[in-house]
């Protein structure tokens, strides 16, 4: 239960970090909050020979208002996001998602960039950025590129980041006025990874749905956008029938694995139930704020 040997590099600027990664890739890994990487190193499931520690790069940690979106630095801690009034008003789905991540001492260290780069299929942030169509910014010595959330995730714990790239910023579209959102999940104990969860962002006009975005976690190799369920609710509104159909479509869209925590069939069923609950909760919040 002790990590294998590695060299620890401590850059103080992004430029320096990118040079270090470029020199040592592919054996080097960025170290963010360490809340996923260090357990994997303790178990020796990961044995990087060089860690490029991003924790002393102060200009990678920020939350700023950029007009139609919030720009969030990759090294922003989950705890900082939880306590940000700006996040709570501009992107309430991100706030909701954060409350489901582990426990306070985990959120003290864990970062949004680390959670997205780690791409755990059960994690809340990947489903959140997918539901909101967020844009991710990556940098390397070769330059900067933007990646849509839909193109970022690439299977179980895999992203389309290159080994020499650092995720630097997440651009979260602001929730439209009068909309509502919710992330609802079931886990074995509070703070555990979700067996199944659904993130929902919804805009209503009376009983009809003018905009809806849904994404699930815990029920496939990565986060899953529930496009079919979105279409059903956009066309048919929030009647019990439509909700049942949307839940059915969500279950059909998932591709869960069974493990010691839950069977595949149970997770698939939960995807439907969580869809209905998330939509119901988001719609109630939309009505409250309208």
């Amino acid at each position: 239960m002790k990590p294998a040997s590695f060299d620890h590099l401590l850059p103080t600027s992004l430029h320096e970090a990118l040079e270090m990664l470029n020199t040592h890739a592919p054996d080097a890994r960025p170290l963010a909050g360490g809340q996923s990487l260090v357990p994997m190193m303790n178990f020796r499931l990961a044995r990087p020979t060089v860690l490029v520690d991003l924790n002393r790069i102060s200009d990678l940690a920020y939350i700023s208002d950029a007009g139609d979106h919030l720009a969030i630095g990759a090294m922003t801690r989950e705890r900082t996001i939880e306590n940000s009034g700006l996040v709570r008003t501009a992107t309430p789905l991100l706030y909701d998602a954060t409350l489901h991540i582990g426990h306070l001492p985990i959120r003290s260290r864990g970062t949004i960039g680390g959670s997205l780069s780690n791409a755990d299929p059960a994690a809340e942030y990947p489903a959140t950025v997918l539901a909101l169509d967020a844009t991710l910014v990556a940098q390397s010595v070769r330059g900067e590129r933007t990646i849509s959330a839909a193109e970022f995730f690439d299977g179980v714990m895999t992203t389309t980041l290159e080994p020499d790239e650092i995720l630097t910023e997440i651009r979260m579209p602001k929730a439209p006025p009068g909309s509502g959102s919710a992330l609802v999940e079931i886990s074995r104990r509070h703070g555990d990874f979700a067996l199944a969860g659904v993130a929902a962002q919804i805009t209503l006009d009376g009983n009809s749905v003018t905009d809806i975005r849904l994404a699930a976690c815990g029920v496939g190799p990565g986060p899953i956008r529930l496009a079919e369920s979105e279409m059903i609710l956009r066309e048919r509104g929030l009647s019990d029938d439509a909700l049942a159909a949307a839940g059915g479509a969500a279950a059909a869209a998932t591709d869960p694995d069974g493990d010691v925590h839950a069977t595949a069939a149970y997770r698939r069923k939960l995807a439907g139930v969580m869809t209905k609950r998330a939509v119901g909760k988001a719609a109630a919040r939309a009505r409250q704020s309208a």
Binding site: A4, G102, P105, S108, R109
Partner: protein
Amino acid sequence: MTAKRSITVIVNGECLTGEAEPRMLLADFLRDELRRTGTHVGCEHGVCGACTIIIDGDAVRSCLMFAVQADGAEISTIEGLATNGEMHPLQKLFSEHHALQCGFCTPGMLMTAIDLVHNSNDHSPGAIRIGMSAALCRCTGYVGIIDAVMEYARQVHGDAAVTGDETGGGRNDG
């Protein structure tokens, strides 16, 4: 093996220096190098909370940080809670409420509770229960622990603050 480096940390107000290879966990550095064995090590993957300490104001898992990352940091551990041989109010409450049996989880429970009570805005019983779910206890069944932490929150913030939501609100949708 990668060469050892000299690491200086302030532990409970005392400036201490030791040596650590990059791969040495902060928990092991505190215990084996600085001989501050109050911080316990259980699971070594962030789940049990026994190793929880406070760094620069926030509770963190010391099994998920490397000692080299803490160079220059201010650390509070269980050893710093009592002053002049007098137990910290939270320690007294743990004793009064039978919030420990074997004591293995207690250092992490106390450091978790101190961050939770002093630094969060929500002191409802539900929020305290959810907050304390960050640490595992194999002995007590938690009732005494929760009672002690709620009583501590009342002492710090007043009776009126520790009311309302019993279940943790929207955090457990289950």
